[in-house]
Symmetry: C2
Subunit: 281 residues, 2 copies
């Protein structure tokens, strides 16, 4: 469960992005993250730990500067020692938005998991800090994370491996590059272990903006495949062999696009702003 | 709606297969089709029209002979003229099972659609003739058929093209090579036009045995993804542009494996013989 600084503070936004978000044209996802974090007065910290490319941090630094943010910094955390540094901790404590880049989610959890930086992110988010992550950076946001798995398979027990993520919320499990890499099977497999979390499959250039009230709204050019297994009637996960296909009955799926919303608490979907956008032509 | 010979006759089985069914080892799917059609006393007609390979008919001829069937024939229908031949019509009228091979489903509908052979298959099935088809041969069994579409996409209006199939039933729309070619998006798109039919996505080496009572049972080594859109709360299909992702809320999905059943009339899924197969090890 996320830590909380005080009873009165609102949680910050949690913003998983499916990877390959638009960085050249309208930049809808990155702009909205900036707007929510204070616009040109935002204080943004980029954490490029997932990436092995030394240029990743600087690339996002320039992007956020182009979007008008004056105070952007890269926390170049490469080791667990870095992740215990008090200057990085203070940087996050002072930020209004943290951005986790893509790469390998196990780099984030193995380097940052359990450190001062991880705790500052959790504490901060519970107290109003917005935390966005793209691709690997999206996967780590939740309590249960897909560490790796098999693309393009029917759900099988062996198709997915879960690991603890940064734990900002236990309400969902994220998967990214969702349609591009055909990951429904592994997401359903992840949920077949325990239907408590909601599955969120994010296409590229598509984000879930999850507000303090646990309502998510979709932004971007692709679809969000929401998998609600809370009403599952049957799952053969306990009996199936590791390579057997799993039988799962009664999954609810919503395909959400830009403007559509889902309340993670009441488990209700709405087309949101889509209604009224009708154009007869 | 399928034609019926008399009120008392039971409809034959409808058996769509997802392609690449096992032909070398246990041959579970082909064996069960043979058993239902009379075992060694079955009278089976193979229709290889979907295939451009001249060897396809003979390959299945040998397979069914190996399974003990004495009376197997290939109806080598290559033109609409062939499909009007009365000897082929009589062959089907005398059969207990018809098997449609894979290839291109539009070859079957353009060559056989509306002919004496097509009518004999429909009439026969309504009167007890079992009709199986694999891959393209599976797609054509229903009234509304996926003619072609885009693999691996989120649901989009332009992702799928429907065409009239052989029309043995209007209760479902079939897609095949389902997980292998990542076709959930196009199947959901097909259902977004009109949620009346149930979507059946068949993995390779996986079949739906649909009985006279409209209960289907899964046979084979893969999964059947059943998409029930009858409780859809919202579909943006009428408003979305051809290349826009579609918003669809409230789809029910069941992942069924060997032994699981689904009643197409009551829309209820059951793990079937899976319960009780539990082995603690």
């Amino acid at each position: 469960m996320p830590s909380k600084r005080s009873e009165n503070s609102k949680r910050g936004w949690i913003i998983p992005i499916g990877g390959a978000e638009d960085k050249l044209e309208r930049k809808r996802i990155l702009s909205r993250f900036v707007d929510l974090s204070g616009g040109e007065n935002a204080r943004i910290v980029i954490i490029p730990t997932a990436s092995r490319l030394t240029t990743t941090g600087d690339r996002y630094l320039k992007l956020f500067q182009e979007l008008g943010v004056k105070d952007v910094q890269v926390a170049d955390i490469l080791t667990r020692e870095d992740a215990e540094r008090e200057d990085y901790e203070a940087m996050i404590e002072n930020a209004t938005g943290v951005f986790l880049t893509g790469g390998n989610q196990l780099r984030i959890t193995t380097i940052i998991g359990g450190t001062k930086v991880a705790k500052a992110i959790r504490r901060g988010n519970a107290d109003g800090l917005n935390v966005a992550g793209t691709s690997a950076g999206a996967s780590v946001l939740s309590d249960h994370m897909i560490a790796f798995g098999k693309d393009g398979s029917s759900p099988r027990a062996g198709a997915v491996r879960l690991a603890p993520g940064l734990g900002l919320t236990n309400r969902f499990i994220i998967d990214q590059h969702f349609r591009q890499r055909d990951r429904l099977g592994r997401l359903v497999a992840a949920l077949a272990f325990n239907p408590h979390p909601t599955g969120i499959g994010l296409d590229e250039d598509t984000a879930a903006f999850i507000g303090p009230d646990n309502t998510l709204e979709v932004e971007g050019s692709g679809a969000l495949t929401l998998v609600d297994s809370s009403k599952t009637q049957f799952s053969s996960m306990a009996e199936a062999g590791v390579n057997d296909p799993i039988c799962i009955l009664g999954i609810t799926v919503h395909i959400l696009v830009h403007g559509a919303t889902y309340n993670l608490h009441t488990r209700t979907a709405s087309p949101g702003t889509l209604v009224g956008e009708r154009t007869d032509d």
